[in-house]
C-alpha cells in the first residue's frame, strides 16, 4: 500500500500547483523508496526511461518552420481566408477537421496533423477568425482556439485505434498473449470503429452547438 504514496504526491502536487516537473520527480522518489529501491538505482531507472521515451520530444523540430511562416504572415492569411468565406462557421470548420483527423489517423497517418504542425498555424487562427466573424466581437476567442486543440485530440484518439499497426493495438496484443490469448491486430482494430462513430457524433454535435452559442451572441 505504501507504494501508492507516489499517486498521492501527484494529485496533491497538481492541486497545489507546484511545478509539475518537480512533482513528478518527488512522486518517483516517494514510490521508489517505498518499494525499497536505492536512490542510485532509482536515478538510473528514471534516466533510462527518460532516454527511451525521447521520441515524444522530437516533434518540436517543426517549430522553426512554423515560426518562419508566422513571421511572414501565415496566421494573418489563414484569418483572411476565413473572413472572405460567407457562411463559414467555427463548428463547420472544426467538424471538417475532426473528420479529416479521424480518417487520416485511421489510415495510420497520425503525424500528418497535430498541435504544432496544423492547429497552431492553421486550424486555431481559422477557428478564431470564424468565431469573430460570427459574433462580430473584436477580441480573441480563446474558447474557439481551445476547441480547435480539443478537436485534434478527439480525432486522433478515436481514429488511430482503427489502424492495425498503432502502439496501443500492439500493446493489447502483447498483454493478451501474456495470458495465452492470441488475437490478430485486425480483430482488435475493427472494434474501435463503433467508438469512432460515437466520438464523431458526440463531438460533432457539440461543435454545432458551439455555433449556436456564437449565433446568440451576434448583434
Amino acid at each position: 500500500m505504501l507504494v501508492l504514496a507516489g499517486i498521492t504526491v501527484i494529485v496533491a502536487g497538481f492541486l497545489l500547483r507546484f511545478n509539475p516537473l518537480l512533482v513528478v520527480l518527488v512522486s518517483a522518489l516517494a514510490t521508489g523508496l517505498a518499494a525499497g529501491m536505492g536512490p542510485v538505482d532509482l536515478l538510473a531507472a528514471f534516466g533510462k526511461a527518460f532516454n527511451d521515451s525521447r521520441y515524444v520530444t522530437v516533434i518540436y523540430m517543426v517549430l522553426p518552420v512554423i515560426g518562419l511562416l508566422e513571421r511572414h504572415g501565415l496566421q494573418e492569411r489563414a484569418r483572411g481566408l476565413i473572413a472572405g468565406l460567407r457562411g463559414f462557421t467555427v463548428g463547420r470548420l472544426l467538424l471538417g477537421y475532426l473528420l479529416f483527423r479521424q480518417v487520416t489517423a485511421a489510415l495510420g497517418l497520425t503525424s500528418v496533423a497535430g498541435h504544432p504542425q496544423t492547429v497552431r498555424p492553421l486550424v486555431a487562427p481559422m477557428a478564431e477568425a470564424a468565431s469573430q466573424a460570427q459574433t462580430g466581437e473584436e477580441k480573441r476567442d480563446e474558447e474557439a482556439a481551445a476547441m480547435a486543440a480539443a478537436t485534434d485530440n478527439v480525432g486522433l484518439f478515436f481514429g488511430e485505434d482503427i489502424f492495425i499497426a498503432i502502439g496501443s493495438i500492439l500493446l493489447m496484443k502483447g498483454v493478451l498473449e501474456g495470458y495465452g490469448i492470441s488475437i490478430e491486430p485486425f480483430h482488435l482494430s475493427v472494434w474501435a470503429i463503433p467508438t469512432a462513430i460515437a466520438a464523431f457524433l458526440i463531438h460533432g454535435a457539440r461543435l454545432l452547438l458551439f455555433d449556436r452559442r456564437r449565433k446568440r451572441r451576434a448583434p
Partner: protein, 314 residues
C-alpha cells in the same frame, strides 16, 4: 540505415539552435535558464545513448532544477509587427498554405515511400524520418523564398518554444514515472483495490469497474498504456474474459478506448492537454481539458455500454 539514429541528432541540433537563440534574446530576463534547458534537451537528443543510465538521470535532475527553481522565462523579441505580417499575408497570398502543407504532405508521402525502401530506411521509424525530411525541405524552401537571416527560423521557433517552456519535457518525465511505478508494482496494488470494490458475481459491476477504472487510472497516470495492463490483469482477463466468457478482442479494444476518454480529462496527459494550451497562448492552461470533458464523459458512457452489448454476445 536511416532511422532514429539520424532523427534524434537532427532534433537535437534544432534544440541547440534554440539554446543559442535564447542566449542572445535580451528581451528575456531569464534567458540563461532557457538556454541551459534547451541545451540539456539537445544533449539528451544528440548523446543520450552514450550518457549511460545514471548520466541521463543527472541530466533530468538538471532539467528539473532549472524549471523547479523558476529559472525559465519568455522572450518576446524576434518577430515582425502585425502590420508587416498583414502586408506579407497580402503579398504572399495562398502560397503560404502550400509551404505550411509541405511538412504534412512529405510526412504522408514519405510514410508510404520509405516503407518500400527497407534497406535504406528503418521501416518502423518511417513516419518520424518522413517528418524530419519534411522539416528540412520546408526550411530549404523557406530560406529560398523569404531570404531571412540565417538564424531567423530558429529565433522564431525559439519564440514558440518559450511559450511551451518546461512543459516540453513533462510527457517524457511522466513516461519515466510510469516506468518507476511499474518497477515498484503500483499497478498490482491498484488492481487489487479495484477488485475488492466489485460486488461478488456481478457482471454489470465488473464491466463498470473495468471501464471506469481504465478512465480513472489513465487520469492519474496520464496514459492509457499504463492503465491497460493493470486493469486487464485485475478485471478484464479474470472476471470479464475467463469468468463471464467475454470476447477478448472487444474487452481489450473498447477498454483501451475507455482509457482514452480519461486521457482527454487530465493535465497528466501534458502533451495533449497542457502543451497545446501553451502553444496557443491561452490564459487558462486547463482550457483544452475544459473543452474536452463534455465529449469525454458521454463517450465513456458509450464505451461502457458497448463493452456490455458487444462483449457478451455469445
Amino acid at each position: 540505415m536511416i532511422g532514429l539514429n539520424l532523427v534524434y541528432p537532427f532534433a537535437g541540433l534544432v534544440f541547440l539552435a534554440f539554446a543559442w537563440s535564447a542566449l542572445r534574446d535580451r528581451s528575456n530576463a531569464k534567458r540563461i535558464g532557457n538556454a541551459l534547458f534547451y541545451a540539456l534537451i539537445a544533449l539528451s537528443l544528440i548523446a543520450g545513448d552514450r550518457l549511460g543510465d545514471i548520466g541521463n538521470g543527472l541530466l533530468v535532475l538538471g532539467l528539473v532544477a532549472i524549471a523547479g527553481l523558476g529559472r525559465m522565462g519568455r522572450g518576446s523579441g524576434g518577430t515582425t509587427s502585425a502590420e508587416q505580417r498583414g502586408a506579407e499575408a497580402g503579398r504572399r497570398g495562398n502560397r503560404l498554405f502550400l509551404m505550411a502543407l509541405l511538412i504534412p504532405l512529405t510526412a504522408l508521402a514519405g510514410t508510404y515511400v520509405f516503407k518500400q525502401m527497407p534497406t535504406l530506411i528503418d521501416g518502423r521509424q518511417a513516419t518520424l524520418v518522413a517528418l524530419a525530411t519534411g522539416v528540412i525541405l520546408a526550411l530549404l524552401v523557406g530560406y529560398a523564398w523569404f531570404r531571412p537571416r540565417w538564424l531567423a527560423p530558429f529565433d522564431e521557433g525559439r519564440r514558440l518554444m518559450d511559450g511551451v517552456g518546461w512543459a516540453a519535457v513533462l510527457p517524457q518525465m511522466l513516461a519515466s514515472l510510469g516506468a518507476v511505478f511499474a518497477l515498484a508494482g503500483v499497478g498490482d496494488v491498484v488492481g487489487g483495490l479495484m477488485e475488492r470494490m466489485i460486488p461478488e458475481g456481478s457482471l454489470v459491476g465488473a464491466v463498470l469497474a473495468y471501464g471506469i477504472g481504465m478512465a480513472l487510472f489513465t487520469i492519474v497516470m496520464g496514459n492509457a498504456f499504463a492503465a491497460f495492463p493493470v486493469m486487464a490483469a485485475a478485471i478484464g482477463i479474470p472476471l470479464l474474459i475467463h469468468g463471464a466468457g467475454g470476447d477478448p478482442a472487444v474487452i481489450a479494444a473498447i477498454g483501451m478506448l475507455a482509457g482514452f476518454c480519461g486521457t482527454l480529462m487530465t493535465p497528466m496527459a501534458a502533451n495533449f492537454n497542457l502543451v497545446p494550451a501553451a502553444l496557443l497562448d491561452l490564459k487558462d492552461r486547463h482550457a483544452v481539458i475544459r473543452a474536452q470533458i463534455p465529449t469525454a464523459l458521454p463517450l465513456l458512457a458509450v464505451n461502457i455500454a458497448l463493452l456490455w452489448w458487444l462483449g457478451f454476445r455469445a
